[in-house]
Symmetry: C3
Subunit: 413 residues, 3 copies
């Protein structure tokens, strides 16, 4: 292996790692922007916690669990009962480690940044009412164990990989893994006070800082340059540049489609839908960003944008309260993106489509079961929801003794 | 061509693409920060729209139009009546495509990020009173057709390129193209209510969020690492690193000069002038960032900073209402930077100076004519300005039904 | 030297330069977020000024001073009386300049971004009461002369380097250099009105915008990818990727340790401590990021996090008023990180530990003496503290005639 190409490949993946790191800022700003000021500290705290504990856990447990090489009964990574943190192979810093694409350390850090993302997705959906301690315990288990096991089935060369399931950068393995848990958590938690009224109408709970929410979306889009671009796992010029193009065009067309549909439906230029459409397009292209044409990317993104508008309305009608639209963005568009690999692009075909369905269903079943088990135990023991008084006052004062904006005069609602 | 050098060149341009992408966040934050809270959603919406539609249009139309290879009557790109989206040449992903510097996809995406910038510049100048639908139509035409045609004359190897006109990264081709349209639009739109009083005095309309405006300037400065650094079109160590140094020193000295002049003139440490001075320095160095010495860069930046302070005052005296100073930054400093190539640095000389003047005048004439034609038609048909009631209430409520900061108590003005 | 490897090394350092540049945004947001809204413009102004003047001064004076090659009396860089700005050696743009690692321009710009950091650290500690003009003079001297001399002793191959002192990326040379000046300045300035009450209790002065403070920490963490990653001074895959891993794990464990200790001590989930713990971990790992194992990094980061909680309390008890915790983060953790090189990792040993102590003490003595001399002269002449009236009203109105948030209704305190 050429040492120079090894160096440039590794530089590219390190830069992509930094960009995926920054997505945690993007998620933080999006989540606080779309919720009320009285829960801002709480959401920021959760996000810094998820990133910090996520990286440490991935060093202690996750990385070994996710890339096992072999499995117990075909599904449980063989490191499951034998974890001992990072142990670099002898060739870990040489071109031999990963065919000259990156070092062991880069491999760990890039994947570690992904791991924390799954829990971050849940964070937005449960905002404004989840009990902090319980959420932290959930995060530890979900990021530390569930995410790596699910990931091992495909990226750890497990049974889904052998089957032929395709998920380039994680429409299913990251976004749906987070999205399924978000769905279960939202259902178990119940809606925020005031969201669904007794007369059947839906109470709008507007986000308190739209500039920061928008900043979050820009930063997430930037982060996706690394999320998808780095998932090429080398700096191959043709592949990386195609991936950036499909990613950006899907984001743009996702936003535009959501804008048009919501304009048609609600007669207003809805910025929230536009932003969530961009995110939907990004999630939608993630499973097949490397196998799509420009036209495919625009179509996949546009359909994702339409799904966002329909999905947000649908989730509302189910009386599920998802303050930031995480289920529509990460679960619905994650499933869509995964299936799209069987419909569009280089891999399209019935056989591939059936593999994609098996992947969606099996990961979904595993995540729903796991999330439900963890959360129901927490609900029956510590509780997962704050008291009504705390919810009304805001979590910031009760859990953190802090106010996000003490110099500003505020409306409480 | 060495495949490894091809890979590293392409990585550098992809990173620069990501940085130019981020400039759209920078512009968004600068624009909302320097205007009133009641128009925040509207400005954010416009910027997300510009980026999204800009990329899609550049894929459908702009890229082909801008890099035509040949021209009709010497000025109209030969693809003008024959557009059909991206069609990658056979060697588009190989080192042969662009002398080993980047792939076809990287080429498209880097240039696509530039294209949207021109309309973003206009967005700031027309803020707080432009009718959204009309602005969207203007954007589509200006980004989709006018910008690529202007660009083709130089970067598409058209007649200005043959003449010897020099514009390294777009003081004229991007910043003035946006700046001329901003000038025309501001003139046709008229001033915001309350800006120019009957007694001839100028009403201050202070920006509502200076931290976000400052953040925007930092992000724009960062983005310029990619805007200018990527315009080397390779990762050549000597050229790229010189460009980053001249860019940063021009930004710094532009800010410091504006600070000193405004301190001398207004007896106050004016942060807005400081920030616009930084931007002026950046725009000013853009045309010749690769042919200037360190001293040249400091001088060019300093003069740009002085021009900002004088320019903002001059535009006010003309009764032109430019809420964010876009005309001073992008048009005046864009012209200055373009002319500076004939005065300082490796290319300095009367002949070059005359080429620069021809470039400034011809692009200016084309842009003013185009922008005027589009906007006057829109003004006579759909109208380009919101109603007085909408302007007083703010565009956010009327066009978007949303409030940027619903939890905060606000002063309306 | 291989030209391709030269190109990739140079690209890596340029990217790291951009990331270190962005740290100035991170510091700006952290500082304004943790202070009151009435001093926001002032803090932003100081930070943009520090960056701008820092870069220009580093071109005019600092770079030559810091990398002298030889010394007068062994401690005074021989360029001290012979400065004339940047003069690129003939081979400055070739692989010969720095063993194929970067060009002269990249060298200058990367180091220049570091230089401004030292003054930025001081900016946070003196916030809300320092007289702007005096602070600007202090910055010019400290960034222009003191920082480069201190740096020359180690990075300019001076006597500390010969001795065997180790400071990979600047726990001492950047962070403590800033931290010592912060300590002296805070002591000479005195506390803000209302901080230490007559009854001996400590008045809380909460930060006004915690979302922006948190954003600042995320951006600083990102910037540290470049601060430490670029300090490898090449793109060597094994070294750079190790450095990113130790940096991120120290940040994460610093945050978690501070969280746990403050939870135990104050019975609350304290976001400020969490954030400062992250920063403490980052500063702590900086001196030895390239010689530590994963376990070392987690231990060093955790101890830094504990030191943050203890340090902030200790500084309060000394009646020193440091609004943003800069002394705990940059001085205490800077010293800790420097000493840790003698305790953990590849260099651990008594001899190394003694070198580290000599480095900490000598740089400390030099910085304390220098900062004291500059500030006491300023105090006796221009004064370093604003009037009581100005402090009560806020510096924004008095020094800048501007309000950071004019559309918002505010509480004055």
């Amino acid at each position: 292996m050429d040492n120079t190409l090894f160096t440039i490949n590794n530089v590219w993946i390190m830069i992509c790692t930094a960009l995926v790191f920054l997505m945690h800022l993007g998620f933080s700003l999006l989540e606080i922007g779309l919720t009320r000021q009285k829960n801002t500290i709480n959401i920021l705290f959760k996000n810094v916690f998820i990133l910090s504990i996520g990286l440490v856990l991935y060093a202690l447990v996750g990385f070994n669990l996710m890339y096992p090489g072999s499995f117990i009964y075909g599904v449980l990574p063989d490191h499951f009962f034998n974890l001992f943190g990072l142990t670099m192979p002898e060739n870990g810093l040489t071109a031999e480690y990963a065919n000259g694409n990156y070092t062991y350390w880069t491999d760990f850090l890039f994947q570690g940044m992904f791991a924390a993302t799954a829990a971050t997705i849940v964070s937005g959906a449960v905002a404004e009412r989840v009990k902090l301690g319980s959420f932290m315990i959930f995060t530890i288990i979900y990021v530390g164990i569930i995410y790596p096991i699910a990931g091992s089935w495909k990226w750890g060369t497990g049974w889904l990989d052998e089957l032929g399931f395709y998920d380039f950068a994680g429409s299913t393995l990251v976004h749906s893994v987070g999205g399924w848990a978000a769905l279960v958590a939202v259902w178990l938690l119940g809606a925020r006070i005031g969201k669904f009224k007794k007369d059947g109408s839906i109470g709008a709970i507007p986000g308190h800082n739209i500039p920061l929410a928008t900043t979050g979306v820009f930063i997430l889009w930037l982060g996706w340059f690394g999320f998808n671009g780095g998932s090429v796992l080398s700096a191959d010029p043709g592949k990386t540049s195609l991936v950036l193009v499909t990613t950006c065009l899907a984001a743009a067309s996702g936003g535009l489609a959501a804008l048009l549909v919501s304009l048609f439906r609600y007669k207003q230029y809805d910025l929230s839908m536009f932003l969530n459409g961009v995110l939907g397009g990004l999630v939608g292209i993630t499973a097949g960003a490397d196998v799509m044409s420009v036209t495919d990317a625009i179509v996949i993104g546009s359909i994702a944008g339409i799904l966002i508008v329909l999905g947000v309305g649908f989730i509302d009608r189910l009386k599920l309260d998802d303050p930031v639209g995480a289920i529509a963005v990460h679960l619905i568009c994650g499933v869509w993106g995964t299936l799209a690999v069987g419909i569009f692009g280089d891999l399209a075909g019935w056989e591939q489509f059936s593999h994609q369905i098996i992947g969606v269903v099996s990961i979904g079943a595993f995540c729903v079961t796991s999330a439900f088990t963890i959360l129901i135990i927490l609900k029956k023991t510590l509780g997962i929801r704050v008291s009504e008084e705390e919810e009304q006052d805001g979590l910031d004062i009760h859990e953190h003794g802090m106010d996000a904006y003490p110099d500003f005069r505020l409306n409480q609602h």
